[in-house]
Symmetry: C2
Subunit: 409 residues, 2 copies
Amino acid sequence: MSMPTANSDRLWSTLMEMGAIGGTAGGGCRRLALSEEEGRARILFKHWAEEAGCVVTVDRIGNIFARRGGTDRDAAPVAIGSHLDTVPTGGKFDGAYGVLAGLEVMRRLQDLGVTTQRPIELIAWTNEEGARFSPMTMGSSVFTGDIALDFALSRQDPSGVSVGEALQAIGAAGDVPVGGRRFSAYLETHIEQGPLLKEGGEQIGVVTGSFKARYFVATIKGQAAHVGPTLMEQRHDAMVGAAALILEINRIGRSRGRDGRSNAPYIEVEPNVRGVIPQEVRLSCDVRHPDADEALAMEAELRDACAKVATDYGLSVALDQYFEFGPINCHDDMCALIRETTTSLGFTQRDILTVASHDAVPMMDFCPTGLFFIPSETGISHSETEYSTPAQCSDGASVLLNAVIKLAG
Amino acid sequence: MSMPTANSDRLWSTLMEMGAIGGTAGGGCRRLALSEEEGRARILFKHWAEEAGCVVTVDRIGNIFARRGGTDRDAAPVAIGSHLDTVPTGGKFDGAYGVLAGLEVMRRLQDLGVTTQRPIELIAWTNEEGARFSPMTMGSSVFTGDIALDFALSRQDPSGVSVGEALQAIGAAGDVPVGGRRFSAYLETHIEQGPLLKEGGEQIGVVTGSFKARYFVATIKGQAAHVGPTLMEQRHDAMVGAAALILEINRIGRSRGRDGRSNAPYIEVEPNVRGVIPQEVRLSCDVRHPDADEALAMEAELRDACAKVATDYGLSVALDQYFEFGPINCHDDMCALIRETTTSLGFTQRDILTVASHDAVPMMDFCPTGLFFIPSETGISHSETEYSTPAQCSDGASVLLNAVIKLAG
């Protein structure tokens, strides 16, 4: 029999309807984790999943599981999924594509009247982005046991609302215990967040590994004083120190050419008023490189830069690591499965590294896990301009569909 | 008769009791304009003023007027005053000292049983700092007609609360129309916010003029994108541009030695989350110099720096002036009055420029206005460590008392 493929029109209209929830004037999407908008996205997803014949359950961290039964009720399920939350100025594809490509798999299996041997579970994980609540990949990390449920529930957004409160506020908390069961495999598809597939013209990117990334908070302490009368020579201006550090961070990433990444995207300033020299700045920053040793060398440069800023500007600078990611261990047999499926469907492909984390990353140590990308037309994500074509979206869903069929038997 | 002097112990205990409202663990004061704490400070001040025999009225922007009658009911009053609000991490002296030195004047006149010819009005102006609501010197500027009442009432703090709402919330709005009447003179005393009196050992600083200061918002626009996969060479990172601009601003001030000032103390970042390259930064900044031409030259350098940052980092940078201050025109006869009074009391003095604005600044064009400083032991203000000694505070109140007696007859 010929290989089944995704229904491109159905998948596209589903993506666009989901993208309209929190849709922005600029064509993007603002659907922060556990916001009112994301609550509506959850309701719509559950409705669609039930229409596709799935049984929906929700765990205590808000992860949604849409289960399609198999002929062998005792077999560990094949899991697929991604996330519905976005960054504040995000697009329609990052996260939602992986969930809705999974929904298209469920719908196509229903169209075909196929029952696999293993059950299939489609998962919408809670708070992958970490934009409102830190840390990122929260729902999947609680599921795998990498972070504790109570810790996750107590995390607060900048306005002081906790994850637990936000779950209650939108009715997104379920009663199923988090984790405590096995999957036979986990498979995730995602838009590429960089330009490589677009540059090379390939249809599928098989993720074989990742950059190594370390994330820090730099705390720069000076002394508050009046912005006017205080002599420049007497100042201990934490904002100036932060500025010098931001430029150093940028330099460290750029010095590694196309392989280096470094960022300082989030800043908190005290007191952050017009009349007072800032006494403290907390700057979230990170360094990333495909070569783990080189990433550590970048971190060493960052630590040197902190010491230099402290000396140059009469400040104290502390650098505390709060997160680490990679290098991840992609499963060879899952990579092989994605490659074979892609080839069988007649699509072009390349191997690729992921620079960012995904829900698949905590899953890597939990069960055999595969991750693959479809091209980004604009080469960027976390942006209103992120975009993949209907055909690109459909191709990825077709790979997912056939890989799932192989895994679920 | 010998010249009357302030009651040092009474003034000091009054300053300490007021400073305890919003008092911080670090020995400073957090009493933002129209906050609950400042509301309690207003009630205490009105109570004290009435105890000292004054009639208290409040205008629609919340300026408090404590009036001591004169023998000539039709004479224009002599006004004195300052403000009760502080910056978020302020001290016990900036603002409150001028109000409470004025209260000591009222109390001493009551002790002496003296009735002057002219009425005397002691004023606690609303929102001098501009830390919660911009612009600064709001109450005095509405009084003088420099800004419109409706405009001031509509200004919002960062959480969206307007001045009008905040006035209602703490019951600080009065029913007296703002302005519309004359003063024969206005006199204000304030702690010095720099180290000059301390360095020179003088007891009183007679303010003869000011720095010229221009205040801007620099709006730096780039493009949001994912912090991980986006190649460094493809980025348009508004935070990096802001950092480069902050360092340039700092350099511009430092290049003028002890006469230059430049600041970038307030920043707003969008979206300011860990996963997204910032697409927009709005940076409040200013340049100041005693020589107005040199201040304009600093502004020109700032504009050049904006253009260079835009080119270097692939951004757009707009610089919009939102406020200007100075050079102010101090009244020669008021300066002479302060000098004579200081000499008569046996205190040492020097002329001095103010680098920051004060409520006396909008008053300069409204009526003959004088401003003088007492020393700061630590040389800084807008800090928990700002401090003047009981004797320094008392000396300034004695100068104020005797100058007011001369002005009021």
